[in-house]
Each structure stands twice: as C-alpha cells, then as structure tokens.
Symmetry: C2
Subunit: 538 residues, 2 copies
Amino acid sequence: MQESRLSVTSILRHGLLLYPGSKVITYDGTVANEKTFAEVGARAAQLANALVELGVDRDDRVGTFCFNHNQHLEAYLAVPSMGSVLHTLNVRLFSEQLEFIINDAEDKVIIADAVVMPLLAKVLGACKTVETVLVVGDFDASTLAGVHYRVLSYEEFIAGRPTAYDWVEPESETDAAVMCYTSGTTGNPKGVVYSHRSTWLHSQAVTSAASLGLTTEDRALVVVPMFHANAWGIPHAAWMVGADLVMPGRFLQAAPLAWMFTNLRPTMSSGVPVIWNDLVHYAEENPVDFSSVRLLCGGGSAVPRALIEAFRDEFSVDLVQGWGMTETSPVCTLGIPPVGTPPERAIEYQVTAGRPVAGVALRIVDADGNVAPNDGKSLGEIEVSGPWITGSYYKNQRPESFDDGWLRTGDMGTIDAEGYLRIVDRTKDVIKSGGEWISSVELENALMAHPLVFEAAVVAVPDQKWDERPLACIVVKPGATLTAEELSSFLLDKVARWWLPERWSFVDEIPKTSVGKFDKKVLRNLYAEDKLKVTKVG
Amino acid sequence: MQESRLSVTSILRHGLLLYPGSKVITYDGTVANEKTFAEVGARAAQLANALVELGVDRDDRVGTFCFNHNQHLEAYLAVPSMGSVLHTLNVRLFSEQLEFIINDAEDKVIIADAVVMPLLAKVLGACKTVETVLVVGDFDASTLAGVHYRVLSYEEFIAGRPTAYDWVEPESETDAAVMCYTSGTTGNPKGVVYSHRSTWLHSQAVTSAASLGLTTEDRALVVVPMFHANAWGIPHAAWMVGADLVMPGRFLQAAPLAWMFTNLRPTMSSGVPVIWNDLVHYAEENPVDFSSVRLLCGGGSAVPRALIEAFRDEFSVDLVQGWGMTETSPVCTLGIPPVGTPPERAIEYQVTAGRPVAGVALRIVDADGNVAPNDGKSLGEIEVSGPWITGSYYKNQRPESFDDGWLRTGDMGTIDAEGYLRIVDRTKDVIKSGGEWISSVELENALMAHPLVFEAAVVAVPDQKWDERPLACIVVKPGATLTAEELSSFLLDKVARWWLPERWSFVDEIPKTSVGKFDKKVLRNLYAEDKLKVTKVG
C-alpha cells in the first residue's frame, strides 16, 4: 500500500476541494459573521504567507491565545499544513503556568485575542523566544512600549497577501502538528504533542456514523474552547466533511448561547456539563429554540443524570456523554446505548462514560498492577491505548504515567461485559474512608438530582477516625433554601448509608478550573484554611 | 502518540466486545441461517486453532475459494488476526489463471466450497505448496484419490476446538493482512497486498457518515463477492460497527436476491450494475419489497443513468455509484450530490463516479504526463493516491503502473471544479476515431436508456477510413424487437452525430468477466473472427 500520509494538510485540501461553500460563522457578541470554507482557506493561505515573512519555519511553534473564531480556525489549518506546529494556549491559565508553557514550547509567534492581550503581556517579558504577537481585534500596541517582541494586527498583517500557499505534507505522518498542555492540578503543566496522523485519525473517528456521525448536513456549535484538547476534534472533523461551524467567540454564557441555538440553528454542539447546566436552567426560565439540535455532547467531567434527563424531558434533546482527556485527543468513549435498547432503558447507558470508539482499547488495572476483568465490578485505574492516545509527554515528563505502552489516565472505574465504562472517580478525588472507597462523583450526581440543587461538589477531608470523610459543597438554585438535613435524608435511598457526608457547606459557587471542571483542590484548601462555613449532620 | 496498530485484529476485537449480538445471516438456497457475532467470533477462534494444527504460521498464505457465507467471514477475521495472510481466490477464474495465482501466492491451505471443488481440484495437482484443503459443505473426498494434499471437512475439522484464541497484533501495521489478484485482461494476474493498516483505514472510511455511514442499525446484504476486492470492504466495516451481514452464498440471481430483500430486510447492499439491472427488471414483473433499503451501491463498472432512475422512480431506492478497483481496496469515490442539491438535479451528480472519500486524492494526467486542471474538460488518465491505494504489485509486477507514488488506474476521465470524477472510458476501451476519442461507456449508457434495451456493450473495431469505429452489441428485453435504425435515431439527440455506430449486432447476452464486467476482449475477438452477425446502418 502507498505510504500516503494521514495529515492535517490532507484535511485542509479535502475540505477545500469538496466543500468550498460550507460556512464558518463567528459570533462577535452582536452579529454573526459568515465566511465560506473557500474564504477561510484563502485566509489560511494569507496567514501562512504572513508567518513565512515572520520567519516561521518547519517545526517552529506558533501559539494561539484565543477564543473560538474563524481566525483561530485559520491557524488550526495553516500552521500544521505549512509544516509548523500549532500550540493552543488556554486563556484561563494562571500567569506562572502560562509563562512556563510558552517557554517550555518555545513559541516563536503567538496569535492572541485583543481582549486577553493584557494577560499575555504580563508574562511575555519573561518569554524570550516570542518574536511577534499577531493580535485579533482592536488593540492599542502603544500600551506595550519597550517590549522585546513586535505587536502586529492579525487582519492588517495578512491583508493583501497571496490567497494561495503551496501546502506541504509532513515528512512523516508522525510529525508534530499540534501541541497542548494539560492544565495540571499537580506539578508543572505537561505538553501533549498531537501528530498529523493522530489528528487525521481522530477526525475520521468523529465522523464515523458509529460515533458522532458528523456530515456536511451538520452545523456544529463549538462551545468547548479551541484551546481545550483541539475543541474535542470538532473543527478538524467538520472541515473534513464540510459541516458548518458556529464559533461563539468568548460568549459562552447561557444568554448568548441561547441566542445562537435559537438563531443560528446548530444541529450539534459540544461542551462541558457546567455550561449545559447553566443553559438548561436558563432555558427553563426563557424561550430557547433547540429544535435544530440532533445531538449535544458533554464531556470534560461526568455528565449528571439529572442534566441528561432535563434536556431529554423538557427539550427533547439527546445529551450524549463522552469521555477522554487532553492526552487522548480526546474522544475515547461515547455513551451511546446498544441498538435495540428500549427508550426507557437508554438512560442506564447514557449515564456511563460509554464504550470505546473503534481504534481505542480500554482496560482496568488494579492496585497490584493486574488487568482486571470486564465484569462491571472490578475497580481500578483506567488505562487506554490507541492511535490518538499520547505515548509520552513532551520532553518525557512523568514517564510513570505510561504502563507498557498504555496511558494511565488517573481515572478510576469499571468496565462491564458489554464494554461500558463507568468512571468512579479521579484517583486523587476518591475518598478513602476506613479502608473503603467512596466515589465523590456518585455523591455529586445523587445530590445534583435534587430539584433545588444547582451544583454540588464533594471532596475528601481528613478525619481522625476514618482517615478521610466526604465534605459536600452545595450551591442552591436562586431563591431556594435547603438544609443539610434535608439533603442528607434525600440521599438515604440513593447511596450506601456509610457514604452519607457528615460535613456540609453551602457556597455561592463551586470554583472551576481553566477548562470548567470543579476545582476540588481549591475546595480542599479552603476547608484546610478554615475558610468554609461547615454544618455538621448525624 | 502511541504506535498503536491499525489492524484487522483490532477490528475483530472491537466488534466482538461491542456487538456480540449482531448477526451474520447466510442464505443456503432454502433457509437463512443466523449466527451472532459472538458465535462467528468463537468459530473464527476454532478455525485459527485448526489452522495452527495444519502448520499455518505467521505470514503463511491461506486461500479461500468460496462464495459469501459465514465461514468465509470467519476466515476474513481469523487468518489476518493470527498473523497469517488471507488470499481470496475468484471462483470464476479460468484454470490457467487460478493455477498461476495459487502458485504465485504459494498458498499453504485453501478453504473451498464443495460446489466449486471440481474446479479447484483440476489445478491443484500443479500447485505443490498447497498441503490441505478445508471443504465447506458436503464433498466426497474419495473422488480425489492419490492427490498430494489432504482434504478435510471445514466443519468437522474446526468442531470441538477451543473457542478462544490469543489473537496477535501484527509486528507492523503495514504487514500483509489480505491479498487479492486482479483478474487481468492482459498478461498474468497481478497480486495486490492489503496491509492491516489499509484494511482498518478503509473500513473506517466506509463507516464515515460522509460516505456509506454504516452503523449497528444497518443490515448489509453483501452481493458483491468476497473474492472481489474484499467485497468492497463491507464485511470488515460491518464487523467494526456491528452492522448485521446477510450473505447470499452463490444465490446471486434476481429471484433469490428478491427473496432476500423481501424477507431478510437489508438496509443497504452493494453489487455490480449487471446484478442490479437483472434485479430491477425482475422487480418490474414480480413483487419485491425494497422498503427496508436506505441505500444500494453500484460499482465495478459504470452505473447507467437509466438504472439509477429506474430504482428511484419505480422503487424509491437510492442507487449510489462508487468507483474504485482491486488496487484501491476499493472505495475511492462516491456519487453523492453536494448538500442542498435540489432533488431534480441530484441525478447530474449521481451519474458521475463521484467525489473522493476523505483520505483519497485524485488527479488527471494528460498524454504528455502533465497534471491537468480540475475543469471538467481536460481528459486524461486518472491517477489516485491514498493510504489504502496499492503502491506496488506483489513481486513488483508492472512497475509502469505507478507514477511517482500515484497509481495509474487505466481509466480515462475528467474532474470538475467541485471534485466530481467522470469516467470516460478504460484507456484500452476508448475508441480512437479519426484522431478523436469516442467513449464506449457514454454510448452504452445512452443505449441502455432505451426502454426495450436490456444490455448494451460498445467496442472499438478496425475501420479503414477512421482507424477505429464503434460496434454496438445489443441485448433486447425478452419478447421485444428493435432494429439498428430505431436505435440509431434514438441516439441522435443524445450523442455527437459522428459518434453514431455504423455497425450493430443483436446478441443473446453480453459476455462477462469473472467479476461481472462486460468482457469487451471477447466481443472484439468474436468480431475479428467474424462470429458476430453485424448489421450496417448509415
């Protein structure tokens, strides 16, 4: 067989040839700006020509510090297809992490949104590899006098350049195409390097009719940020099959998202559960038209059963749960019920993390390092293998995360005989109580099923008698009141009695990480520093 | 990224884990025998254990000389997943070709249908590498006394063996998984070696929602023989996504196929146009229920417009045209209209060979070896590149078929700006008349649109004045009568006047090749030997 390369370059070429009329629609807070794939492809070529003038060469890293918009997509397509490496930077990172990441990756050029330029400028003084910043949007560069890097307007700098570029195939399909750092709740962020091959294969997997089944008839609203594991592969996959893309910019609050659902008519959308939770509560109070939607995807953290049921029962929308991580490109599993499942039993499968998509293999490894059976009971760390799963971190950080070619995910779970994965907890979040394990995730799901609970996070706190016990942190819905006793008795028939938390804290909001997950480290610290008001029960 | 292998082994494992309850239904001429994927997987393991006992080792070739049934599928899954190479033999080959192919591939074991054993036995005396034949079905081995190979019953020999096998991943994903010889109208047949990687990628491509979109909700009736380019990848793809398979055995005539459509309710089916042509004529006279069908695929030779329209207008069935060849795994293009095409214009796209599926690239190379533009006019040889396109023939036969990494297909065509490929003719079938080209395929399509024409084949014959001129060979529908003059005037407003054939021959049937294409070499020879009754017009 030919050594034809699986590459971002071939994705770019294929989408341009077959689907020049498909659309990329960027919402800027007021209006939706429409560009065709042909226009975005031409602008990607202009960007490539501009980057060459900036001295960007093969393998050089080009960072992006952007929300989701057509310019970000242009970088997605152009940078790898000119042989360089795209490095997506999370705009919600702390300064120290951002500085570390830029220096670790040695970014030469960064494309940044004007609105987050002040955050970036704060660290760039210590990032000597960065020669140029291309700013998307209006920005007054004179505020940065005396810096070592050039600041140019993205639009002005690409304007008028040739709209064609002689895109190059990578020398090897395993060459780097994109890199992204894990937000890293412990230690320094670790770089994950996606190859051309892994990006192509992951995109193809997302278009499989057996997974998300993206086609040219779809319009994908990309709520998950493009700096969060390639926006779960949706931009590349959409380009491959000619699906329209709706890019929400930084407008990820319930109200603007509701406007986009109602007016831009997406057929599918992907995002973290906290966003869908906000949106469903908003839609309970305000008119939102979800009639164009065939599929919502939730991932990044467990999707609560109550949320799936709310979308299903109130809006006839299927919310499909996926599981994966930055290290896995990310799609590993999807919570799709087996064919022929009666509708009333579908939820039993939808609340699991799902089954592997073709190409991905999973296994459970117990505390002794033995592979456990797929019996739905044996609990252990989830390990994953496949052609879009990272085999090592950049610069070989944390080699202990890899086990004989498999990635150790840091998630604990079970796999049943039908292949369905259940995530019990993060290994670092599980509560070790008297030698037994309590799943913080299951407690949270049970609590969030209460009609007056808006959000609930459960963390382990030290306990003299049991080593660790659960602390439940609760956000009640606006205007509602709830007591710890009420919630404790609500849990009675839902979890084992010895799981019932003794410690309760009613808070205004749950702190979130830069990618929208509950930040349990912050909660544990607040508790340790005695900064939470805690009620005791039982 | 991990070096995880794209392999038939992983397809086998994935289908067994996720879809143990999907079905493989084999029609034996009387009843439909149902087995689950779990049962077929267990039998594949029994076959692997049996082959080990026969001394089959890594890289050894195991031939199949079978129609489509569950045993053939068991060989598809088991042989590559034990590290050996499956070699599908065409049961319709001439003896000399069959003998050449078995010796060229050095098959060690052959799995053969009892009904074609006499054909196989005729050549095996000259095939010294073959040690064992496993016969599917009842066969009296005593008729073969004194042969150098053992003859065993497939069912008896696998019965009672362990239903598990320690399947192996290939050492490299580019290792051989399957081989298949092109029927070769000129010279000796040439071997094409499919790798584990190419088989996996092709299967995944077939499941893309942007191509055939196979899922676990499908039931695929595999009309195209499993010795014909892996049955176009349908068996592997169906296993990957848990689609039911209906295997028609050797019952490919219109009446049994009609029974299968009506009673076994397939959602999709793939086959060559001559089979669909027979079936549609049968269905015009007999009750056939196509209501379960979402998609028919036609390929192997051009699908006539009249056939697409007949299925559409009379039975509300979509007949999608694909293009490819043994050398291309085979799916390269699919005749799917662009999104938003008004229904009345869809046929304009459906009559083309279609656009490349993601992963495949096409180009037109003119007589001077230059790449021609995609303008829908520039005519030349079609060249193709991609990860499931062969890069060389087995033992480096015919290196002139490869052009700087691209496969020269021997088909002539054009590509338009939207990427649609039109096959004008085979390079060896095009008619060179007075320095200009006449497409035999276009003339055939125009003729087959006549309501009284059953089949039409056009070949070049020598002409003193023009070098070559077309000869039209016509099969009229049962009971109908037609004259050359009537057909000639029917063509008047459909093709250029100088294309009108002067020579016409009314025949009982068009000779076919072993894979169901018109055998134009036979027609040319019949004409040369003056064995056709020819009428002259104009």
